[in-house]
């Protein structure tokens, strides 16, 4: 148990209190064993594992394409980003090229996913300090985006949308018809959120200067994503190690100055606005063309071929019976997920199933740093600090 060196107030007896695993502030699944001196946290131990679902073991027993639905459920607030990360890793293994249109489509849906992730996180942070209304408005905005993704992928949350060599289906016309209207609605909700929270002293008092982690400590802990950027380090994989077509798009990387909950909140807010701008640019630039490039080792041929030719049918059967068979080798591919660097490390032994599939979840590092962030703060601070790290059980514990 990590302890602080603070002397006990009044020499009172400390109180041990278990927070979680089922506690409104723990998002369901983490346990904090805390020791309190009055209301001040003096020691914390984080226990995780309440949502361990054996993701990596499941991957070893599944073919490459069967893993895609599992990745949906890693970070279940921004599933498409996981899809994209995993597919990029497998495509790297294969050496596949993805059609330009599919890449743009991935960027568009990926950024929609990022917005929905940040909406949930910021809304939940509002809820945890008592601003329930803001949370419900943010969830309402998220609903607008989910309708959009549903239009493309056929599911609200667990999309299973990317394939090796492209996407399962193309962006339909209805999607583009709805998009601009929905983005406007989301912007309106964000604007309301700004008015409700951003200048409210009560909210600012709750989040300012709590959970501070310096830039150096954050880097030592391996922070990435909004948590790192809030400390002032402009590290964003979309720029640092560009993938897809992010090099063709303009956006700014928001950074904070202090590295407290408040900076994280602001960075996420600004990122949503940047994502909206990225989506607008991508929609203007998206080329015509195919959404899927067939490679016979990777995934199914076009249905026309399957129905019409014996070679197509054999390819189809082979890839399903044996799975996609990438060459032997190992790759690491990381993308900027909702929470930070979401990396997939794949080892292929040339068979249809991954020999090893390891995920680098961004929020594992955040949770490891939790004791350092919490100790010395009040009980009431646990909640907004915990909310600001956006712990997602699915990717934390896999």
């Amino acid at each position: 148990m990590k302890r602080s060196n603070l002397p006990l107030e009044f020499g009172a007896e400390p109180m041990d209190i278990e927070i979680g695993p089922s506690h409104p502030a723990m998002h369901g699944i983490t346990r904090l064993s805390t020791r309190l001196d009055g209301e001040v946290v003096t020691a914390v131990e984080v226990e995780i594992g309440y949502l361990h679902r054996g993701f990596e073991k499941e991957c070893e027993n599944s073919t490459y394409v069967q893993v895609i639905p599992y990745t949906d459920r890693l970070n279940y607030v921004s599933p498409i980003l996981n899809n994209i990360g995993y597919s990029l890793a497998v495509e790297k293994l294969f050496g596949l090229d993805v059609p330009k249109r599919a890449q743009y489509a991935r960027v568009i849906l990926g950024e929609l996913s990022r917005i929905s992730d940040h909406l949930t996180c910021n809304g939940a942070m509002g809820m945890e300090v008592g601003a329930m209304t803001v949370f419900l408005w943010y969830v309402k905005a998220r609903e607008y985006l989910w309708e959009l993704t549903e239009e493309v992928t056929g599911a609200r949350l667990t999309h299973n949308w990317t394939r090796f060599g492209g996407n399962a289906n193309d962006l339909p016309d209805t999607f583009f018809d709805m998009l601009e209207e929905r983005l406007k609605k989301v912007e309106a909700v964000l604007e309301e959120g700004v008015k409700m929270l951003f200048k409210n002293k009560i909210f600012l008092d709750r989040v300012k200067d709590v959970g501070v982690l310096s830039r150096e400590r954050a880097i030592e802990y391996g922070f990435t994503g909004p948590m790192l950027r809030a400390t002032g380090e402009p590290y964003d994989l979309r720029r640092a190690e560009p993938y897809l077509v992010y090099n063709e798009l303009d956006f700014e990387i928001p950074v904070g100055t202090v590295g407290d909950s408040y900076d994280r909140f602001l960075v996420r807010h600004e990122e949503m606005l940047q994502s909206i701008s990225i989506i607008r640019q991508a929609v203007a630039k998206i080329p015509k063309g195919g959404h899927y490039q067939h490679d016979r080792r990777a995934w199914l041929p076009d249905k026309t071929e399957v129905y019409g030719s014996i070679e197509g049918l054999i390819d189809h059967f082979k890839v399903i019976m044996e799975g996609s068979t990438p060459p032997k080798g190992e790759v690491y591919q990381a993308i900027e997920g909702g929470n930070g660097e979401l990396g997939f490390y794949l080892v292929s032994d040339g068979t249809g199933k991954p020999y090893k599939c390891r995920v680098r979840p961004p929020c594992f590092n955040f949770v490891s740093a939790l004791p350092e962030m919490l100790i010395g703060h009040y009980v009431g601070d646990i909640v907004p600090i915990y909310g600001s790290i956006n712990m997602i059980g699915g990717e934390l514990e896999r």
């Binding site: 998002h27 679902r53 027993n61 949906d72 309402k140 609200r156």
Partner: protein
């Protein structure tokens, strides 16, 4: 596997329902305080159901009470693994009678596609379940249908719900032995 038919309808004669019971059950079904035991992805859809677009509150199932004493219905939304199972059981035991349980989504109902060492293959191996909602995760519409199904159950069966452990009537391939 043989042909399955629909679940047998609840036998009307088997339960002697008086007028008073009907009124009491009516009250129970429109005042369902909930304990959202949200662990995973389904929790997101639970939020969506409670939020403005679907507004679960219309059915009187508002007010998430995180104290098991004060809640009537336990929504188990998300995967329950072996580490979490005792906690669900404990929360269920702490709930004041009458209480009901809704298994929300594939993972809670049956383990979903996590058929491995970590995951409990269905919540009904740990606590009795009154309503199952299929889907991964279920759409909010499905959730509301589940809630309506629970309300119907309360109206017809009264406070007991499904007594005892639900018989596992599916002939699924069990990868794990019973816990």
């Amino acid at each position: 596997m043989g042909v399955k038919t629909k679940a047998p309808a609840i036998e009307q004669g088997a339960f002697f329902t008086t007028r008073l019971d009907a009124v009491l059950n009516w009250a129970r079904k429109y005042s369902l305080f909930q304990y959202p035991f949200a662990t995973a992805c389904c929790g997101m859809e639970f939020m969506a159901t409670a939020a403005s677009h679907y507004d679960q509150a219309r059915f009187g199932a508002e007010i998430p009470r995180f104290s098991p004493r004060q809640s009537d219905v336990l929504w188990v939304a998300g995967t329950i693994n072996h580490k979490m199972a005792p906690i669900v059981k404990r929360v269920h035991e702490q709930m004041a009678h009458p209480k009901w349980v809704i298994a929300f989504g594939a993972c809670a109902s049956s383990g979903g596609f996590y058929q491995n060492y970590a995951v409990v293959q269905g919540l009904d191996r740990v606590i009795p379940v009154d309503v199952y909602i299929g889907g991964c995760p279920p759409r909010p519409e499905a959730v509301l249908d589940g809630l309506i199904a629970l309300q119907d159950l309360i109206q017809t069966r009264g406070p007991t719900g499904h007594t005892g452990i639900n018989p596992r009537q599916t002939k699924e391939v069990l990868l794990l032995s019973r816990q």
